[in-house]
């Protein structure tokens, strides 16, 4: 099994300038993930508002989520290495993203009619459950169902270039298949493990004669506290104990002991 390690050069300038400002509020930014799903297109460079943001993205690779400011962005795709010129890319769109939401932006279809497929991604799942959706990104494949082998369809009549709604299921292992509506199996996905508290996207890609799937994790749930930790036990004056000792050693020691003991009893 050959592991293909893809090198992405991610210009995080946009992201980090937000961080540096000290306010990285999620209510100012959206998450955007780019997927290369055009089977005959070369590796691509992605420019956001004229800035090189993703470099040499090959077919079937994804960028992971990038934080971008909410608003409308000029997203343009070039064959990798092509010099940037506004409006000259193989693909261009003004993409509007809302704060606090997450999106998948796929470059889909054959190169001659390459197009963006955009879907909003779920960042929540009922505790203990799993969520999954499928995307039909195989340009020449017919409409398909995805379901349990010998059982019900979870997703019916998925057509290029649709991305279904999520189905929330019990976590567990499923013997799935992609099949034609008449039941003919197109691609087996036996022993699919869908973990609890996890949201998946499964995209069928490539042309129908070499159909395959790429799977992405959209979200994994975990707890977060209501407040930041209180991470200092000292108070400023007490680091100057030399000076304080001269004036009020007894009082200080008495107070410290009291405070120290009380804090640790809590």
């Amino acid at each position: 099994m050959k592991k293909i390690l893809v090198s992405f050069s991610v210009a995080m300038v946009l992201v980090f300038s937000l961080l540096a400002a000290g306010v990285m509020a999620a209510d100012d930014t959206a998450k955007v993930r780019v997927v290369h799903a055009s089977p005959d297109a070369p590796a691509v460079d992605v420019y956001v508002n004229g800035d090189l943001t993703l470099e040499e993205v090959p077919f079937k690779a994804d960028s992971g989520y990038l934080e971008v400011p909410a608003g409308t962005h000029d997203v343009e795709v070039f064959a990798s290495g092509t010099e940037y010129a506004a409006g000259e890319g193989v693909l261009q769109a003004d993409l509007t993203v809302e704060a606090g939401k997450a999106y998948t932006v796929a470059a889909a279809n054959l190169l001659e009619s390459i197009e963006f497929v955009v879907a909003e991604d779920s960042m929540e799942v009922t505790e203990g459950k799993t969520k999954v959706r499928v995307g039909h990104l195989s340009p020449d494949a017919p409409a398909v169902d995805v379901g349990v082998i010998g059982g019900d369809a979870l997703f019916s009549g998925a057509e290029f270039s649709g991305i279904t709604d999520y189905a929330e299921l019990d976590a567990g292992t499923y013997d799935l298949e992609i099949r034609l509506p008449d039941g003919t199996q197109v691609l087996p996905l036996e022993g699919t493990e869908l973990a609890a508290n996890t949201v998946y996207s499964v995209f069928a890609v490539n042309t129908v004669d070499s159909l395959e799937v790429i799977a992405l994790v959209d979200y994994e749930a975990a707890s977060s506290p209501d407040g930041m930790p209180t991470t200092g036990l000292g108070t400023p004056d007490q680091s100057q104990s030399m000076w304080l000792l001269i004036g009020g050693a007894l009082v200080l020691i008495g107070a410290s002991t009291l405070v120290w003991r009380k804090r640790f009893q809590q």
């Binding site: 099994m1 050959k2 293909i4 390690l5 893809v6 090198s7 992405f8 050069s9 991610v10 980090f16 961080l19 540096a20 000290g22 306010v23 990285m24 509020a25 993930r33 090959p58 079937k60 994804d62 992971g64 960042m123 996905l189 699919t192 493990e193 973990a195 996890t198 395959e212 799937v213 790429i214 799977a215 994994e220 975990a222 707890s223 977060s224 506290p225 407040g227 930041m228 930790p229 209180t230 991470t231 200092g232 036990l233 000292g234 108070t235 400023p236 004056d237 007490q238 304080l244 004036g247 009020g248 009082v251 200080l252 107070a255 410290s256 009291l258 405070v259 009380k262 804090r263 809590q266």
Partner: protein, 212 residues
């Protein structure tokens, strides 16, 4: 976590001390160090992304598994600490160790090595002086953070540091999901606020996993 009574007592005691000491204003080292803190990687970074490798079922094995951390090492500032596994305090804050040598991992959150931000907190000072994260503000871009248990060592590289006023800190973002493994270290910074019983800012260090 600080009772009001404790504070009143303490203020009273301190006032007395100041009177005795001639109202000399002491220098607060942590506060001084908190000034002009912050950096962020401003050059393109390279991340390796592995597209679904062909295997029997491409949906399986795409989740990264994290570790239950037992120790944190930061060679750049000579820190070696035991990691406690803690949740929240009664008031819902992230809990912290009740000693100044250990650090705490927010165990209901993401695990180190799993996708998402695993968060570890430690004290900046104790009653008598420096605590485990006293020198956290001296970290620089690219410094390594080692999180270990008996089976695995994970290496994270610092990419961003900021000191954020408490009222502007976006807690849900600091503890949020990311589609790669991150480690976040938190300690106190800024000036001490006697009314709130804590420092007014939090020093937050963000690091990303170095993939083998």
């Amino acid at each position: 976590m600080f009772g009001e009574n404790v504070f009143n007592n303490k203020l009273l005691a301190l006032s007395t001390v100041f009177v005795l000491a001639g109202c000399q204003q002491p220098i607060d080292e942590v506060s001084v160090r908190s000034e002009n803190i912050g950096f962020a990687q401003d050059e393109p970074i390279t991340v390796n992304i592995q597209p679904s490798a062909p295997k029997e079922n491409p949906i399986n094995g795409i989740k990264r598994t994290g570790i239950q951390p037992s120790s944190l090492k930061i060679p750049a500032i000579d820190v070696e600490a035991q990691v406690q596994h803690l949740g929240v305090t009664e008031s819902g804050e992230m809990a912290v160790p009740n000693n100044i040598e250990d650090v705490s991992w927010f165990s209901p959150g993401y695990k180190p090595g799993q996708n998402g931000r695993a968060v570890i907190a430690g004290h900046v000072d104790g009653v008598d002086g420096p605590a485990i994260f006293w020198n956290l503000s001296k970290l620089e871009l690219g410094d390594e953070l080692l999180v270990e248990n008996k089976d695995r060592t994970l290496i994270f590289k610092v990419h961003t540091m900021e000191s954020v006023p408490l009222d502007l800190a976006d807690v849900s973002d600091v503890f949020s999901y990311t589609s790669s493994p991150e480690l976040v270290l938190i300690t106190c910074s800024g000036t001490y606020n006697f009314d709130q019983g804590t420092r007014e800012e939090r020093l937050i260090v963000y690091a990303s996993l170095v993939e083998k």
